[in-house]
Subunit: 470 residues, 3 copies
Amino acid sequence: MEKTSTDTLPLTMISSEERETICIFGTGDLGRSLGLRMLQCGYSIVFGSRTPKMSSLLPSGAEVLSYSEAAQKSDTIIMAIHREHYDFLTALTEVLQGKILVDVSNNLKVNQYPESNAEYLAQLVPGARVVKAFNTLSAWALQSGALDASRQVFVCGNDSKAKQKVMDIAQTLGLTPLDQGALRAAKEIENYPLQLFPMWKVPFYLSACLCVFFFVYCVIREVIYSYVKEKKDITFRIAVSIPNRVFPIVALILLAVVYLPGVIAAILQLYRGTKYRRFPDWLDHWMLCRKQLGLLGLGFAFLHVLYTLVIPIRYYVRWRIGNVTATQAITKKENPFSTSSAWLNDSYISLGILGFFFFVLLGITSLPSVSNMVNWREFRFVQSKLGYLTLILCTAHTLIYGGKKFLSPSSFRWCLPSTHIIALIIPCTVLVIKFILILPCIDKILTRIRQGWERSSKFSESAMNGKTDI
Amino acid sequence: MEKTSTDTLPLTMISSEERETICIFGTGDLGRSLGLRMLQCGYSIVFGSRTPKMSSLLPSGAEVLSYSEAAQKSDTIIMAIHREHYDFLTALTEVLQGKILVDVSNNLKVNQYPESNAEYLAQLVPGARVVKAFNTLSAWALQSGALDASRQVFVCGNDSKAKQKVMDIAQTLGLTPLDQGALRAAKEIENYPLQLFPMWKVPFYLSACLCVFFFVYCVIREVIYSYVKEKKDITFRIAVSIPNRVFPIVALILLAVVYLPGVIAAILQLYRGTKYRRFPDWLDHWMLCRKQLGLLGLGFAFLHVLYTLVIPIRYYVRWRIGNVTATQAITKKENPFSTSSAWLNDSYISLGILGFFFFVLLGITSLPSVSNMVNWREFRFVQSKLGYLTLILCTAHTLIYGGKKFLSPSSFRWCLPSTHIIALIIPCTVLVIKFILILPCIDKILTRIRQGWERSSKFSESAMNGKTDI
Amino acid sequence: MEKTSTDTLPLTMISSEERETICIFGTGDLGRSLGLRMLQCGYSIVFGSRTPKMSSLLPSGAEVLSYSEAAQKSDTIIMAIHREHYDFLTALTEVLQGKILVDVSNNLKVNQYPESNAEYLAQLVPGARVVKAFNTLSAWALQSGALDASRQVFVCGNDSKAKQKVMDIAQTLGLTPLDQGALRAAKEIENYPLQLFPMWKVPFYLSACLCVFFFVYCVIREVIYSYVKEKKDITFRIAVSIPNRVFPIVALILLAVVYLPGVIAAILQLYRGTKYRRFPDWLDHWMLCRKQLGLLGLGFAFLHVLYTLVIPIRYYVRWRIGNVTATQAITKKENPFSTSSAWLNDSYISLGILGFFFFVLLGITSLPSVSNMVNWREFRFVQSKLGYLTLILCTAHTLIYGGKKFLSPSSFRWCLPSTHIIALIIPCTVLVIKFILILPCIDKILTRIRQGWERSSKFSESAMNGKTDI
């Protein structure tokens, strides 16, 4: 499922031949690919190379010259060279005077050098106008036209005219330039392609820890316990039964953890009596990764659904039901029907299905293309109202599943309570606090605080402004 | 699953310090957030305030002055003040002469005032060039960088240069400005953030009504009937069995309702003998909410799938099957295998799965990012050909499920027919009419009408043009 | 699920009346719709028509004149006329001198004429500046505002100023103009709306062939075999059992086929000792449709999951289990529990669920709006690491499912091996080769080759450059 060019219109870009000449230093993959694309979009291309010979790899129509000859042909020079080889540029200082140097280089590690490659280049060639751009592109994608991942071109530079020109070139190539400010931003632009899901790290580790903890807990409480006490080997439960105990718990906790910071923030505001004080950093970060936490929760819920639906297919389940039925037939005892069991069973199944349905809905609305189309009121409606509905449904599902067994002593093994009890702590806490917060008397105070009112008189001024201003 | 900044590149926007000064009236949440972002993008910011004191909440680097002092520093003034407090601007009329006033305000209710806030502002300060913009942004999103929902900035104004300037600022802030025309459009722009899924309202209420109707119908026909006639308490069926009867019916009807307006439109065109007459309004509206109808139908189909797959896990089902098997064993009667039952059962299951599969496919292609990538021919292929295939599969699924029971008297209880019969009325009607419409003789006429041909001679001219023109 | 205007802000575009006059030749659907939208965006519109009479269909506010009168009123003329009727323009050559003619026409078939309509127009009216644009729009979408599918406007032309002007108009209309170069590109732009999923063709036919082959294979091996040998009619298996045998096999093969070209490419590079030679065309094409292959595989996997989960609901399965249990009860034989069977069964179920989970994850990340938000490192991580994990899980799932039966003679019927054996050939091949390729000794060579190193000395120069340049 690699990216392909379906997404792009496979038109050979044929140009009206009016565009200027661009010089590219370096004939590596990215240099050649950029050159090819620029040629297709109507630019004249001249490559600068240590060994200026035309090679069959270079796009036809391009010229190859020595560095200094090539540099003289154009005002814009793309530096498709690794930082380690920038030194030769010092010899060209004079030729490069006033020219736009576009640094497209990347490093192998985050913060590999004290300063960014682009800033280093600017130091080496003081007279040139250095712009950082194009480093997030992939040579393969440029060549094949499969550009959906990397259409964005982050641009920064101290000379705004030079920057604008590079942005215009990017636009002409069919890319999306994004102005990132002065050259100081180059460091972050260079680190960007080296990132690996930075926002997902904390949520991922959190859910991994929860999984491991509950897995070990269940193994001890079920497999080892029954081996020690009853000498029964039920290790096979590790494959399906125990994951299907761990996944729903982790899903529910992650869902609750999405709504916990909002509740904490409300308590903080109530306690402080003002909204004009920053939240602690951990709370801010927590708030920013709620989407990731929720999506991971949805993943676990999805697994729980699949693991639950395969139950009747499992050998063990079939074997057990077959045995029970056969025994019933042999002993000729009628198994009486319990309406209350049917009610309990059917309602926790129904709650679970509805909870999962709304969870999936939440997931779909957090797809970028969907969330781009709703306004803030709609977004808040979905993520807050529907979110709490989901949390209530899933918590109720777990509560009813646990049923009466909850506090019966038989559910304690080696003093370890059932996993459901542990799973319900955070969701129930969140729901109870939320319920208290929406009591009219408290909700009124909170709403006033959020509109700018302050309890203490110290900040009365900003409080007054808060009411006047948006 | 709140929005976070994963989506945005978390670059500190560091600017080349060449951009101009912008003045912001009001130091509320949105004012401060806009100021912060503008500072990050290289603008100088001066806040205008009644009580011009620097506060720790204001972004560092900004100046705070009195309103009139601040206004003199810049040509562009962001009005981050509630409409109720605009009066003080009359005193500043002279200072504001010729300046660009950007109205960012919102109201609490749709059409709260007779004229839009921006038009009111333009009346108050006749010499200023008023532009409406930025009102759909969220202060929190601006500050946290989590902008995926609200990157769009609707801009309108009577002075095109002023408007262009505000659009340029929005672009620089990394937002997507959308020109909405003259200041008269401000009313709609101000109503936009107050909307709550306007296109979903009718489809939602329709499906809610269908759900309630069929739910009550099933409760009467099954639960109450068997209580009255057989004194059996089967209320527990309300939790799973009856929803699983209601949801597929509603899903099928909604799917049919998606294709009904197209069929009605074709009949109208055939009847009128021309395409050059507008459809009635209700038909136009119906056509415009087909996507929503279909997606709601998909939601119900999804619930039906889940409710069906949990059947073997249910206590009631296990109990019944166990009893049946035990009885079979006790009476030692062989249960003969019926190939025709196996065929019927397997084929309606298979049709249902395939129908659901194509339904999901339709849903995926209506995701905005997917539908953006297909051309009209492909889109019509998916939504029309694949859509009718889905409708046929789902209708056949229901038909076979009903099986022979359909018209047997036993399926009538209190004269109420089985729900499946009711469910099939609209889908079958749509399919039969569609089948008639694609008969070659009728299809030929319809195609000619759609290419501009007209039956009556009255419009012969436009008919001739219709053939020449696109 | 047709497109509707939810996506677009339903603002009446009300304009500041400063924009220029645009002339539209032809009053067909597209001409009128374009005119309406342009009027809404503030342009003055004058229609040119053979029979210049105002009709109720034309947008109010527009003028209707004869062709030559209309042409004199504007510098920009939209040609909303079928190519077959272009001849009359020769009479207007003088009036059209220097004007921008926008060709919006489409053909009925790919490559219907030797030259594109726009180039034909340019030949007919040599003095005019012809621009191709707007041909991918739908009249209905323009009128209803439901533009999400066709916001893109491909523009090409030899006169860059004329082209820029048309792109500006497109932008003002709220569309997304994309510069496609010189007028030679018009042919491809005209073919674009006639395409029907060009990238999906090969993957679709491949999977269709696989489906048919395995279906026939299974029917022969199971249904016909047991009819011939045991005179048993098990044709009903065609509805569910056999599809559920075919779909997982096709899904697994398609998934393996996604990763096969990457492995072949690596072997080619190792064999050639250089990366500086183009891959054969078939390999390039194969690489470009990996996404489609994977998504089709996901579709089959989804069907397999549904077909598997309905197993316990099927009449045949219930009947068989009931009989087995009853027999067990009658013969009073205890059915012994086999821990190893439970392990095998539970682990292949678990592997299948996890494999499907990651497969869905791969599918979600290939949604354009999701893949737009990740950088190349993240994209490669998901599609390569997670992809191979999925392949390993699914292959293991199939391997364990086959279990010990694999090579037992009883699994051969009429010398035909079990379908699972055939299904596993490609996945196992890919995994084995991949395993060899990531052995440190081979991986080191491959990495060096991909960094530009070459085994032979012939290309030593480019090899040296390859190390210096990006």
